[in-house]
C-alpha cells in the first residue's frame, strides 16, 4: 500500500481524472472530498463489503423452491403494487 502524509486542504491525484482532497480534520474523523469521472463509483469500504457479502449469499440461494415463496407471499395478502 502506498502511504502518504497530507495536511488540511492538500490533495492526492490518482491517474489523470481522480482527485482526493482533505477537507477537514477532526479528532476521530477526516472529511474527504473526491472528484472522479461519472463512470467511476465511489463507495464507503465497509458498505461495499456488506453488499459483496450479501450478494455472495444471494447467489447461493436455493432457487428450486421459490414458487413456494411466491405462494407464501400471496397467502400473506400482499398485492402487486404499481411503481
Amino acid at each position: 500500500m502506498l502511504v502518504l502524509t497530507r495536511r488540511l486542504e492538500e490533495g492526492i491525484k490518482i491517474g489523470v481524472d481522480i482527485e482526493i482532497k482533505i477537507l477537514e480534520i477532526r479528532k476521530n474523523a477526516v472529511r474527504i472530498g473526491i472528484v472522479a469521472p461519472k463512470d467511476v463509483s465511489v463507495h464507503r469500504s465497509e458498505v461495499y463489503e456488506i453488499i459483496q457479502k450479501e450478494n455472495v449469499l444471494a447467489s447461493k440461494s436455493d432457487v428450486q423452491n421459490i414458487h413456494h415463496l411466491g405462494s407464501l407471499f400471496k397467502k400473506k395478502g400482499i398485492k402487486a403494487k404499481k411503481d
Binding site: S41, I50, N55, L69, G70, K76, G77, D83
Partner: protein, 153 residues
C-alpha cells in the same frame, strides 16, 4: 450468435437472447465484478420473483423482487450520480429490483433494501447502487414482516 448472447439457467436450459434482453452492468455486481451481462427471467408460478441470470455460461444468478412488494412504504433515495451512471432514464424506464437471500425455512428469507439494482429499460444499462438513506433500511429485511402481512403503507 456470439457466446455473449447465451444464458445458461438450471431451470430454463440454454437460451438465445436478443441484444435488447441483455442488461449491462459496466462495473459488474459487488462480489462478481468481472461478470457484466445479465438477463431477467421469470416463470408465471414464481412471480413476483425473477431470476437475474448472468449471460455467457457463468452459472450465476440472483433472485430479485420489487422492493415495494416487501415494503410498500419503501422510499429509496438514489443519487443523481447513480441515475446518470445508467443514462438518466425517465421514471417510466427505470426498473428497481432488490436482491433476495433464500433461506430455510423460506419464511426466513431476506431482501437487501440498502442496495437495489437499478436498470434503464431503454438502454439496458444497469447498476447495483447503495441508497443515500441507507440508515433507514437494512440489507437483511425479512421477506415476511408484520407490515407486509397487513400490506399497510
Amino acid at each position: 450468435m456470439t457466446p455473449n448472447g447465451l444464458a445458461v439457467n438450471q431451470e430454463y436450459g440454454i437460451l438465445n437472447l436478443r441484444a435488447d434482453q441483455i442488461y449491462s452492468f459496466s462495473e459488474g455486481i459487488p462480489g462478481f465484478e468481472k461478470i457484466k451481462q445479465y438477463c431477467l427471467l421469470y416463470k408465471e408460478e414464481e412471480m413476483p420473483f425473477l431470476h437475474l441470470s448472468a449471460v455467457g455460461g457463468f452459472n450465476l444468478e440472483f433472485i430479485v423482487v420489487s422492493p415495494w412488494m416487501v415494503l410498500p412504504s419503501y422510499k429509496p433515495e438514489i443519487s443523481d450520480e447513480d441515475i446518470a451512471f445508467i443514462g438518466a432514464p425517465s421514471k417510466n424506464d427505470l426498473i428497481v429490483l432488490a436482491m433476495v437471500v433464500i433461506s430455510e425455512p423460506l419464511g426466513a428469507s431476506t431482501v437487501n433494501m440498502v442496495a437495489p439494482v437499478i436498470i434503464n429499460s431503454k438502454t439496458g444499462s444497469a447498476k447495483q447502487v447503495v441508497i443515500r438513506n441507507l440508515k433507514e433500511y437494512t440489507s437483511q429485511q425479512p421477506i415476511i414482516t408484520e407490515n407486509s402481512q397487513t400490506g399497510t403503507t
